[in-house]
């Protein structure tokens, strides 16, 4: 068996929950794009070139009467700022990935990051290819879902109000999974506390960056505490 086929086979089972979520979420996105008056070409352009669920859903608000380029750009930056964290998280993992590195970076969305951070290749499987196929499978699933939704969107006529809740649902499911498997729940609690505090103080439009600052500070304090605990 070639290294590629071996890596693909090893990677695929890990991606199943994300693939199903992406097909569903991507379809919801495709449908919503239809509702907003955008067809397959635009949907594929957004899904294929930007490739970021929360940003794409957010963009829907601007692809309408709410169009305001400067506000849009700032909000896109803010909602995507968490990718900075993911990049930091993958610095070591992406070393030595050669020609696959650009795609790995380009496709580093929430779900791919969450898989790459936790899934390990089986013994003997090429690590780079393993990561590449996880990223690729997720990417293609998102495109497939988007296409599906865009096509189905022309046929259905049901009330789609509230459909964008699927994104919240996805994050909730991921959060629950992490909560159950985390060795230490304090980082999650720090995340929750910091975000809520920032939201209360700064409001929904501008709370993301303060939340991230608080998270880093909180994690710093946690590290100090655990370092001292271990030193004893």
């Amino acid at each position: 068996m070639t290294r590629h086929r071996q890596a693909l086979r090893d990677a695929f089972p890990h991606t199943i929950p994300v693939v199903t979520a992406f097909i569903f979420l991507g379809a919801a996105y495709g449908i919503l794009m239809r509702v907003h008056g955008y067809g397959l070409g635009w949907t594929l352009a957004f899904s294929g070139l930007a490739y970021g669920g929360s940003g794409q859903y957010l963009a829907l608000a601007f692809l309408s009467a709410g169009y305001e380029p400067l506000t849009a750009f700032l909000m896109f930056l803010m909602v995507n700022a968490r990718h900075l964290f993911y990049g930091i998280g993958m610095l070591e993992a992406f070393q030595g990935t050669g020609k696959y590195k650009p795609f790995l970076i380009f496709s580093l969305c929430d779900e791919t990051f969450s898989l790459l951070a936790h899934a390990k290749p089986s013994p003997g499987v090429d690590r780079t290819l393993f990561m590449f196929y996880i990223a690729l499978i997720n990417y293609l699933a998102w495109q497939a879902g988007s296409v599906l939704g865009s096509l189905v969107g022309t046929l259905i006529n049901f009330n789609v109000q509230g459909l964008d809740f699927v994104l919240t649902a996805l994050f909730m499911v991921i959060f629950l999974g992490q909560w159950e498997s985390a060795p230490d729940r304090r980082p999650a609690l720090i995340g929750l506390g910091s975000s809520l505090a920032a939201l209360l103080v700064f409001g929904p439009q501008t709370f993301i960056i303060p939340a991230m600052v608080l998270i880093v500070l909180g994690l710093g304090l946690l590290k100090n505490k655990t370092d001292r605990e271990e030193a004893v």
């Binding site: 995507n80 499911v173 720090i190």
Partner: protein, 110 residues
């Protein structure tokens, strides 16, 4: 209802730039160094904190003081929790929870 092609293209380009900048920047800044202990700690803990942030982000517009007081969201999230404990399937939890939310928002808390 939709924007013209030029404005739509602008939104697309802005989104591409914003998304990819955030993904590429760490790899540009931390080129040579691998980061050390602090970065290593962050890379283990940030995934958990980020997920919480994202969840709060999705619910950021919910107002507890005005009708419907976050009830559709709260009940839908509760249904996700229950479904997930019961069936342990990502798809069922997401689809079920979303369905609950849509029904509540379309028919109950109108």
């Amino acid at each position: 209802m939709r924007l013209g092609n030029t404005d739509s293209l602008i939104v697309l380009i802005l989104l591409i730039i914003a998304t990819q900048i955030s993904r590429v920047l760490p790899f540009l800044i931390f080129r040579k160094r691998t980061g050390g202990e602090w970065i290593s700690f962050l890379s283990k803990t940030i995934p958990y904190a980020s997920m919480a942030l994202l969840l709060v982000y999705c619910l950021r517009e919910v107002s507890l003081l005005t009708y419907p007081h976050g009830l559709p969201e709260g009940l839908a999230l509760l249904s996700i929790f229950i479904l997930h404990k019961w069936k342990k399937s990502t798809l069922i939890s997401i689809a079920g929870g979303s369905a609950v939310y849509m029904v509540l928002v379309q028919m109950v808390f109108v």
